[in-house]
């Protein structure tokens, strides 16, 4: 399946259905794996749907197309929802989602380029490490006169890493308008509320002061993501940061906004309850899971 960059008007119902399916996949993957990072992943489902369902250019028959768009998931721990997006976009087999975090799987606990070089531009996990690589790819794309764009996703707690601000400086200094950063601003990190642990506000002002174009949106409003992504693509001479105000674990009420769901794994009962809250639709089939021993 080939998807062309930001082609036509976005079908918001289709993207909403996709986002809900990414949530179902994420819940089932993490329950099946027995570990993982469910909260941040669920909160990113809507933006991920806007990227893979509309904004990005890619072709499963030509995965290394030099003009494709790239994702750098700098907050690599949220990778379950990314893997689900790859599968739902036809880039990897749906059945593979059941292998996440297992020995030998391409779907490592944190994204590994070695395992899947066609889709994972750079290995991530240690926070702050993905963003500089995205700038390097963007500089190379510019050197090659490619229209490819680089989408970086950062966690909000990740912004406490000094290296993130080094990278903010670099993208602005080199006027990398082919870089678009999304900040998953759910205000929660492992030890609690971001502002209590180590404050990052006023975030928009800080990033603007670094020379960026900044857009603030409700990160669960897919229409707003579509508009912001479009605005980023038409903003020339400077990179764009989309601050997505999100709710951690959005879509599963008993997990929403609760720091313990950063890294907890839902039990069988909790998984059933979580799946009920994100609903089903007829557009997608669930991926098969073998019975656990």
């Amino acid at each position: 399946m080939k998807q062309t960059r930001m082609q036509g008007d976005a079908d918001l119902q289709k993207l909403t259905d996709l986002a809900q399916q990414l949530r179902r996949d994420t819940i089932r993957m993490i329950h099946h794996a027995g570990s993982g990072h469910i909260g941040g992943a669920l909160g990113l489902a809507d933006y991920m749907a806007a990227l893979y369902g509309w904004a990005m250019q890619y072709d499963d028959l030509d995965p290394t197309d030099p003009d494709r768009d790239r994702i750098v998931l700098s907050n690599g721990h949220t990778c379950a929802v990314w893997y689900a997006a790859l599968a739902r976009s036809g880039l990897i087999p749906l059945e593979e989602l059941a292998t996440h975090r297992r020995m030998g799987s391409r779907l490592q606990g944190h994204p590994a380029r070695k395992a899947m070089p066609d889709y994972i531009e750079t290995s991530t996990g240690p926070l702050g490490q993905g963003f500089p690589v995205a700038n390097g790819i963007a500089l190379s794309l510019r050197k090659r006169d490619s229209q490819g764009r680089v989408y970086v996703i950062l966690g909000d707690g990740e912004l406490q890493e000094g290296q993130v601000w080094e990278a903010f400086m670099t993208s602005a200094h080199y006027k990398l308008d082919n870089v678009c950063v999304f900040i998953n601003y759910n205000n929660i990190q492992i030890d609690g509320n971001v502002e209590d642990v180590m404050g990052i506000s006023p975030l928009a002002d800080k990033i603007k002061a670094f020379g960026w174009h900044v857009v603030e949106i409700d990160g669960h409003d897919i229409g707003a993501s579509v508009t912001a992504l479009s605005e980023a693509a038409s903003t020339k001479g400077k990179p764009t940061a989309i601050i997505g105000n999100t709710i951690m674990a959005k879509g599963v009420p008993f997990m929403e906004g609760d720091a313990k769901w950063h890294g907890n794994t839902p039990s069988g009962v909790e998984t059933t309850k979580a799946l009920e809250s994100v609903g089903t639709n007829n557009r997608f089939n669930d991926f098969p899971i073998a019975n656990r021993a």
Partner: protein
């Protein structure tokens, strides 16, 4: 090529400009040290392929990895100590784990920064790089070898760490000598003791071998320009032939060349071994020669260790 005394970093700058003219995938990044690591020549000739990254080494390494992932051949350039300590995580994850085709070039390896003192003296950089999978480590012994190592690094696919000295040092190899990554060179033959040296200690080892010869001791001198992958075969064969080994490096003996040779010998052919190098300590300010003397990194220190190891045969 070069003769007399010449700084390796100058040869690096020359090689970079030459290989840059042949391959437009070569890009150069620096962290505010254009002149110190001699990448100015490349900058002048290929300004569109030169990237000033400011004083942020981790970001420079990560950016270089991204450029490599998209098909460029980036050389990063700054001091050895900042690269390997400050940007270690970026080297580990962005470069090595991704197996990205980045050439991490460094100057001011060892004590040669002299008066700048301990914070700027890289004693542990090679050991830090040895611990990282996928990394090739090149430590040329003079300007001619620095030139060839730079070209060889550009032509191989995969991460490479390159270590150059700051101050002019004796040129002991010839322009037409072969240079092959992973293949040590025997610069002087002998059967009484094998001196395995790296970098600027190679000329010092040759000097020690001359001194020893006046006493009838024939020392083999091995230029171990590739620390990883290590030429184990040459080490084992030399140990077999000579029966004892001395290592010499401008670097800590812990995990550097001395450590690497000890691992090979212990596993394959336990052989009396003594190490000349920095002994688990920080440096200090002083003229390079004063520091070399205080930290026992001179030819007479090598001679002393040879005499001691000969008694252990």
């Amino acid at each position: 090529m070069y003769s007399g005394n010449k700084a390796m970093r100058d040869a690096f700058g020359d090689a970079l400009a030459d290989i840059g003219a042949q391959d437009d995938r070569i890009v150069v990044l620096t962290a505010d040290l254009t002149d110190a690591i001699k990448v100015g020549k490349f900058k002048e000739r290929f300004p569109e392929r030169f990237y000033q990254m400011g004083i942020k080494e981790s970001d420079m390494i990560g950016t270089a990895a991204g450029m490599a992932i998209d098909g460029q051949i980036p050389f990063t350039s700054t001091f050895a100590v900042f690269t390997t300590s400050l940007a270690n995580q970026a080297i580990r994850v962005n470069v090595a784990y991704n197996n990205a085709n980045v050439k991490i070039a460094t100057s001011h390896g060892g004590v040669c920064v002299g008066a700048d003192g301990a914070t700027h003296q890289a004693f542990e950089d090679v050991a830090l790089m040895r611990l990282i999978p996928n990394m090739t480590i090149l430590v040329p012994c003079d300007a001619n070898e620095a030139y060839k190592a730079t070209i060889a690094a550009a032509k191989m696919d995969g991460p490479v760490y390159l270590r150059f000295g700051r101050i002019p040092s004796p040129v002991v190899t010839c322009a037409d000598d072969p240079f092959e990554i992973g293949k040590a060179r025997i610069l002087r033959d002998g059967k009484d003791v094998a001196i395995v040296a790296m970098g600027a200690m190679v000329p010092v080892a040759l000097e020690a071998a001359s001194d020893l010869a006046t006493d009838g001791i024939q020392a083999k001198v091995i230029d171990m320009h590739t620390i990883k992958p290590l030429d184990e075969n040459t080490i084992i064969e030399s140990a077999k032939e000579c029966g004892c080994v001395v290592t010499a490096e401008e670097h800590t003996v812990l995990g550097g060349l001395g450590g690497a040779v000890a691992e090979v010998l212990a596993k394959n052919l336990p052989t009396p071994l003594r190490m000349v190098g920095v002994l688990d300590t920080f440096g200090e300010s002083g003229e390079p020669q004063e520091i070399l003397e205080k930290y026992h990194l001179t030819s007479s220190d090598i001679v002393e260790q040879v005499r001691l190891v000969l008694t252990q045969k």
